[in-house]
């Protein structure tokens, strides 16, 4: 009959093994998802949807109501996480900073190549939890397939978006998709004021 110490050791070994297998499985799944993403973005029609509603003029992309809410109200609410996305694996994704990536109204090939470059880097060495700030809805259905979050910001100024999403998701900076240029940082942003915009 095994002693309690033996049982504890066996349990510990099993748990460590399960942890290693979980990590390995997570990495393999991320590789699989990344390969699918690469295929998706290599398709010239990746963002095309043939939507046929006659001569109807497309509707507007409305701003997040949070942009019209007093910062003190937002600050009193719990923060919400941003997922890592399924093409990457990290042991502790919650430790990675939340970075906003601004996607303008780009031509599909430019959008696809920009995303592929960024997400290749993200897959190889996850450096942030990415929150895509989209001026249009065009990238949403593609990025959504891989577990990424898109906040649709229309024409809203980046400063207001940064403050609002900082209060909601802990966003710490906003960069452009194409060049990675820094557009906004929580470290240099003005403190929020109460009066709504």
């Amino acid at each position: 009959m095994a002693s309690t110490d033996d049982q504890d050791t066996d349990a510990l070994i099993l748990l460590r093994q399960a942890g290693r297998e979980r990590q390995e499985l997570g990495r393999r799944l991320a590789r699989y998802e990344f390969e699918a993403l690469k295929r998706d973005l290599s398709d010239p029609g990746a963002f095309d949807l043939r939507l046929e509603f006659g001569d109807v003029r497309p509707g507007r992309l409305l701003l997040d109501p949070d942009l019209d809410t007093a910062p003190q109200t937002l600050d009193a609410l719990p923060r919400l996480p941003v997922p890592l996305g399924r093409v990457a694996w990290a042991d502790h994704p919650e430790d990675l900073p939340v970075t906003g990536i601004l996607i303008g109204d780009l031509r599909p090939p430019v959008l696809a190549s920009g995303l592929l470059a960024l997400l290749t880097e993200h897959h190889q060495q996850p450096f942030a939890r990415l929150l895509f700030l989209c001026r249009t809805l065009a990238p949403v259905h593609v990025l959504g397939r891989y577990g990424f979050i898109c906040a649709c910001i229309g024409d809203a100024p980046v400063d207001g978006v940064g403050i609002t999403l900082g209060l909601r998701h802990g966003l710490h900076q906003i960069r452009t998709l194409d060049e990675g240029a820094l557009l906004w940082s929580s470290e240099t942003a003005e403190a929020p004021h109460c009066q709504p915009p």
Binding site: L51, V56, R57, T73, H193, C194
Partner: protein
């Protein structure tokens, strides 16, 4: 700076909702508010005012305080007079009812009653306040529905029911009931509809909502509060879109997410005041209910599109949400006789505010008329007279769940010399077989059905009804089994039993090769299927008319 009217919102006090209904536009006051001098702040009770009075000592904004008749009023009166002296002339006291104003006058507090005497005849429903049981008892034609005491905005409730306080309750409850009867009439609700689109497995919720919207006979402005990643479709259809995320998308704690979503929706409702909210799903989401209960969010009617064919093992408790709705619209199902779930029986939960109406089946009428075979094939690049072609539309998740079927289908189709054209959902990743597969990503696809000699499809509500009413070509249903979905298997088997279509359901032990071979063989015979239900079902138009009636107040 624009002047803002703030209201303090102590939890569980229905007075805030009633007072907000008297004000043109109001915002909930955040903790530690930095109000501007031109702002106005309302307190629904003098207790709430006393708790925060110090915050406003330095800011010269206008303060309005509802003085409530409680047990401690005589003692409170002295403090209130002192506070009024200190903050004069900025403070105005109000009473909730004429009776309360008289009582306060006797204590030396000048407080005019809020609201005005009603001029319209009272509604026929009643809502009896039962605070000891933490509920209201809604009564319509003798049918009683218990409602949690503060789950609904009382200003919304008062639109359709007379609130009454039994004689033994404290005066404050009588004052609240009196104030509920003294609210202004709602006026023109406008033509703005807010559609809540859940994050479905496929496009079913969105398609049904678009079908109803496009059947409206009067112009409306629609906004989609879309949890669906296919929001682009609603935008392309001409409607405004707000893209939202579920707790599942974010990996968020559901209660934290719900607080955020409630706040966001309440902000929207206060600002844009839609005439109705139309939600489609298996329940009224708690964030929606909570947002509508917030002060200033009482304007909209709540309409729930709830289709049937719930799985037999589905949790039926969501059916109790009818009590919070103004209308429950059930889209008819041609396979209703095979419905195995709770939706096949009478709802065991009382109706509350709602009336339920079942319509004919709902299908999306495309903007363009159905194309001829020649035009449809040309438009899809299929050529004309180049052999037998079959559309395969297995929905967002079906590729992964039916991977085995997919491979077998390819083999048998090659043998039978049938060209497969795969309809790719915008929610789905491209097939692994992208190199040798003809795919189309097109919405809506129904105008092009004549291009195909047959269809292999999942059996969700919309696909089923479109195919059974819009084409006479052979159809093979491959139901998707998912606990989040309706019982597609039951629907598909019903279609098979009626002779409308073939059904391949792996869970029923069907012989895959035999079914596929038989179906593909039938395509080459090019014989139309007789006996299907008639086309042009009117469900969308019926629902649209009901929504328009509801907005106009014809409850």
């Amino acid at each position: 700076m624009t002047a803002v009217t703030w209201i303090d919102t102590p939890e569980g006090d229905p007075a805030a909702g009633l007072i907000a209904a008297l004000l043109p536009e109001v915002r909930p006051m955040p903790p530690l508010a930095a109000t501007a001098p031109e702002d106005t702040v309302w307190f629904p009770s003098h207790h709430a005012f006393a708790a925060r009075a110090a915050e406003f000592a330095a800011t010269p904004c206008a303060l309005h305080v509802a003085v409530r008749r409680g047990r401690s009023l005589a003692a409170d009166a002295q403090v209130l007079r002192a506070l009024a002296d200190r903050l004069a002339p900025r403070v105005t006291f109000h009473a909730l009812s004429p009776a309360a104003a008289t009582a306060l006058q006797a204590l030396g507090i000048d407080a005019a009653p809020l609201g005005t005497a009603p001029t319209a005849p009272p509604p026929s429903d009643r809502a009896v306040i039962e605070p000891d049981r933490d509920r209201l008892l809604h009564i319509r034609h003798g049918v009683e529905t218990p409602l949690p005491l503060t789950a609904l905005n009382w200003a919304r409730l008062a639109r359709g029911a007379v609130l009454t306080a039994p004689g033994d309750l404290e005066p404050d409850w009588h004052d609240l009931a009196a104030l509920a009867s003294r609210l202004p009439s709602p006026g023109d609700p406008g033509r703005h509809l807010l559609f809540i689109t859940p994050n479905g497995v496929g496009l079913g919720h969105l398609t049904r909502q678009l079908a109803v919207l496009h059947a409206m006979t009067e112009p409306v402005r629609a906004t989609f509060w879309s949890f669906s990643r296919a929001a682009l479709i609603a935008q392309a259809a001409g409607h405004d879109v707000l893209l939202r995320h579920t707790a599942e998308h974010l990996g968020a704690d559901p209660s934290a997410w719900q607080m955020r979503e409630t706040e966001a929706l309440a902000t929207y409702l206060r600002r844009f005041r839609p005439a109705a909210i139309v939600t489609d799903g298996s329940q009224v989401e708690p964030f929606l209910r909570d947002a509508m209960a917030q002060p200033g969010c009482h304007h909209a009617r709540l309409i729930w599109i709830r289709r049937g064919m719930w799985r037999a093992d589905a949790d039926a408790r969501g059916l109790s949400d009818v009590r919070f709705c103004d209308r429950v619209l059930i889209p008819g199902d041609l396979a209703a006789r095979a419905d195995p779930g709770a939706t096949a029986r009478a709802n065991p939960f009382p109706p509350g505010l709602s009336k339920t109406r079942t319509s004919a089946p709902v299908v999306l009428s495309p903007a363009t008329s159905p194309l001829s075979r020649r035009d449809a094939r040309r438009a899809l690049g299929l050529g004309f007279g180049t052999g037998t072609t079959c559309l395969v539309s297995l929905g967002g998740e079906a590729f992964s769940r039916t991977a085995g079927v997919e491979d077998r289908l390819r083999q048998l189709a090659r043998k039978a010399r049938v060209t497969l054209v795969w309809a790719r959902s915008p929610l789905a990743a491209p097939s692994d077989h992208a190199d040798d597969t003809r795919q189309i990503a097109l919405y809506p696809i129904s105008p092009y059905l004549a291009a195909f000699d047959g269809v292999i499809s999942a059996c969700g509500y919309n696909s089923f009804h479109e195919l059974m009413t819009m084409t006479n070509r052979p159809v093979l249903f491959v139901p998707t089994i998912n606990e989040r979905l309706d019982d597609q298997g039951a629907r598909a088997r019903h279609a098979a039993s009626e002779g409308w279509a073939l059904c391949f359901d792996p869970e029923q032990g069907h012989d895959e090769s035999a079914v596929l071979r038989s179906f593909l063989g039938s395509l080459r015979r090019a014989e139309p299927v007789a006996g299907r239900p008639p086309g042009n079902p009117t469900g969308a138009a019926e629902m649209a008319a009901t929504i328009q009636d509801c907005i106009r107040g014809n409850i």
